[in-house]
């Protein structure tokens, strides 16, 4: 295989490619020259705080916003040259629950389906499948203004899926939902994995951690880190924190721990030990032999929050 062909084969495997994609609003650089390669069938999460440039990136990829510089390709189509080709193959669930409040569930789906030219019998089959999958079968004929936030979010995703798009954009799909409703949406997204290429934006680190094959951490318009959740966490220099709940912690044993490990802090009956290497058994044995009564102990792995803090010096607020 020639290098050119190999490169083409590699490109063919990509669903989304961005080339120095940039968007500025007057003096504000919202998206700052990002380069992404997202494979077909991959679930890629853009993680970052509000204002990081995630939605602006999605809006450019959906042909809603024109880039100030650079371009992108969706399934080989250029966002600047072939926007209507792209609009035929993408599904978008915007951050706002963009639904028609006085229409019922089925009518909302039909609106998007019909715009995409799907005929009535096919639309009926697809609507039924989605209603069943998303658990809204019994509410098919109800006007959606009566729906809860979680139900509206589900419909928001259903409307993005009705025309069976190749690429799905989910912009903050669980924003403002309670943990139970979020979990339900995650279950539906998990079912879509591999079937479709999904680009998801979120500022919930647990969401990105749970759902994504790969994560791009975004801050101030730039991708500051990119990789699988595991790789991102493994890249942390101080990666282990042990949390011990114990009584009778004597000044002597605290002092000893401080001399052995990089960071030791005490808050009430809780001791936090942070270092690159932690021997769980050895620490518990030493504390017990020094007279401490250990109630519980566990090692906390670094979170994506820690990764973000490490990379940007800021906290990723939810």
């Amino acid at each position: 295989m020639t290098p050119r062909r190999a490169k083409q084969a590699e490109t063919d495997d990509l669903a989304i490619q961005t080339f120095n994609l940039t968007k500025t609003f007057k003096s504000l650089v919202a998206v700052d020259g990002i380069n992404l390669n997202i494979k077909r069938g991959e679930l890629f999460a853009l993680l970052g705080p509000n204002g990081a440039g995630k939605t602006t990136t999605i809006n450019m990829l959906c042909c809603l916003l024109k880039p100030s510089k650079g371009t992108a390709q969706i399934m080989g189509y250029d966002i600047l040259k072939q926007p209507f080709k792209i609009k035929e193959i993408i599904g978008v669930a915007p951050q706002e629950t963009a639904i028609s409040e006085h229409l019922n569930t089925r009518e909302n789906m039909s609106l998007i389906g019909r715009i995409h030219g799907i005929n009535s019998p096919e639309l009926k089959i697809r609507s039924q499948q989605l209603l069943k999958t998303m658990g809204l079968e019994s509410r098919a004929k109800d006007q959606v203004r009566k729906f809860s936030g979680g139900m509206k979010r589900r419909l928001n995703i259903m409307m993005a899926l009705i025309h069976n798009p190749k690429v799905l954009f989910l912009d903050e799909p669980t924003l403002g939902l309670d943990p139970q409703a979020r979990r339900a949406i995650w279950e539906y997204i998990i079912r879509l994995k591999k079937e479709k290429t999904i680009l998801l934006t979120t500022h919930y680190m647990d969401e990105a951690d749970f759902l994504a094959d790969r994560i791009g951490i975004m801050d101030e318009g730039k991708i500051v880190a990119l990789g699988t959740s595991h790789k991102l966490k493994a890249s942390m220099p101080e990666k282990n924190t042990m949390i011990i709940s114990a009584s009778n912690l004597t000044p002597k044993v605290i002092s000893e721990m401080r001399s052995r490990y990089a960071e030791v802090s005490i808050t009430g009956d809780t001791m936090l030990i942070t270092d690159s290497q932690l021997d769980f058994r050895k620490i518990v044995d030493r504390l017990q032999s020094a007279g401490a009564k250990v109630r519980s102990a566990h090692i906390k792995e670094p979170s994506l929050e820690d990764v973000f803090l490490h990379l940007t010096g800021k906290e990723l607020r939810e």
């Binding site: 809603l64 963009a98 006085h102 009518e107 715009i115 006007q143």
Partner: protein, 365 residues
């Protein structure tokens, strides 16, 4: 197909919202019912008006006895000289007096024969009561134009003293209130698009293969249905309140329809320029209320200074009111209102073209 889907969706969104629908049809209807209640029936006030006929021709006499005397809100008294009429005006016995100058009959006759004519009346009124004097000017103007058939200069009438209609105040105000109702379509049509913008629905639709022209037509067509419903309701209400429909109701409907289209077009332009409902709403009222005032639906355009009259006629509503009054009250046909009609068609086409251009631009921003 896409236009049809958007049309269906927008129509459902509207008729399934009882509050919004109630406002849409109820607000101008309340105005119409109020005006109807105030100016129709036995309790309607009458204006004492003096007439001095200096022409002394059969036509000038017919104008007094057949035209002015038949207007129910006018109480006409003939005077022999201006001084007596002026004295009665000063003592409050009259609201106004009219002098029919020599040559009036000849000028009217010339006009009927299709020749150039300069028909003038001198009217003196008590300017301290602005509302009464303004109404009087409008009524006298309308009656004179009806009598002299100023709008159909090529028609030669074999029976020159035949009067086709008795003009009431409801006749005069009816078309104006209908146009006012159609001006309300400006905020209504803008609101739907801007609400969809704010709630993200428009963004969602913009990620589908829908094109700007589909959007503008999809959002406008359902408003056209609303406009048609409004026109039917208003015309029926005005008729029930005593408005005489002398001319071709179909032609009047077409005029109202074009005025409605212009309102929808203005609404689409405002929607393209606004990002939020908070931006669009004041902008709509800022535009629609002055347009209503300038249209002559509340105040007679004849009362306005010349420069303002010119400005009023730059917009479609003064043309629509003039043309619809001509058709409904005076019974004139297309030949008499063709200029107004073409102006309305042109305005509707241009405003929709601007709407599509601005919408396309806002899509790309």
């Amino acid at each position: 197909m896409r236009i049809w889907e958007l049309f269906k969706r927008n129509l459902k969104e509207t008729y399934r919202d009882p509050l919004g629908m109630g406002f849409l049809l109820g607000f101008p209807l309340v105005f119409m019912l109020l005006f109807g209640a105030i100016f129709s029936g036995d309790n309607a006030s009458s204006f004492p008006v003096g007439v001095i006929d200096e022409d002394h021709t059969p036509l000038s006499q017919a104008f007094v006895s057949e035209a002015l005397a038949k207007v129910s809100v006018l109480k006409v008294t003939s005077y022999d000289d201006v001084d007596t009429a002026n004295k009665d005006l000063r003592f409050g016995e009259l609201d106004a007096y009219i002098v029919i100058p020599p040559g009036f009959g000849q000028q009217v006759s010339q006009n009927w024969q299709g020749e150039k004519a300069n028909i003038t009346l001198e009217m003196t009124y008590d300017e301290s009561d602005v509302i009464v004097s303004e109404q009087l000017i409008s009524i006298i103007n309308t009656v004179t134009r009806t009598f002299a058939r100023i709008e159909i200069p090529l028609t030669i009438n074999a029976n020159p003293i035949h009067i086709e209609t008795e003009i009431t105040y409801v006749d005069f105000i009816g078309p104006g209130i209908i146009i006012f109702g159609l001006l309300i379509l400006i905020p209504t049509s803008a609101r739907m698009v801007v609400r969809d913008k704010e709630k993200g629905m428009l963004s969602r639709l913009l990620t589908t293969p829908t094109r700007p022209v589909d959007f503008i037509l999809g959002y406008s067509l359902y408003m056209v249905v609303i406009a048609i419903a409004q026109i039917i309701i208003f015309v029926v209400a005005a008729w029930a309140l005593g408005m005489n429909i002398v001319g071709n109701a179909g032609l009047a409907f077409l005029i109202f329809f074009l005025a409605g289209l212009c309102s929808i077009g203005v609404g689409m332009v405002i929607a393209s320029l606004s990002k939020t409902e908070q931006q669009a709403e004041p902008l709509c009222w800022l535009i629609s209320m002055p347009l209503a005032m300038l249209s002559g639906c509340w105040f007679s355009i004849e009362m306005m200074p010349q420069y303002l009259r010119g400005f009023a006629y730059a917009f479609p509503y003064a043309h629509a009111i003039g043309a619809s009054r001509g058709v409904l009250i005076r019974g004139v046909g297309m030949e008499a209102i063709s200029n107004d009609f073409l102006f309305l068609v042109g305005w509707a086409v241009v405003i929709f073209a601007i709407g599509i251009i601005l919408f396309r631009r806002s899509m790309r921003s």
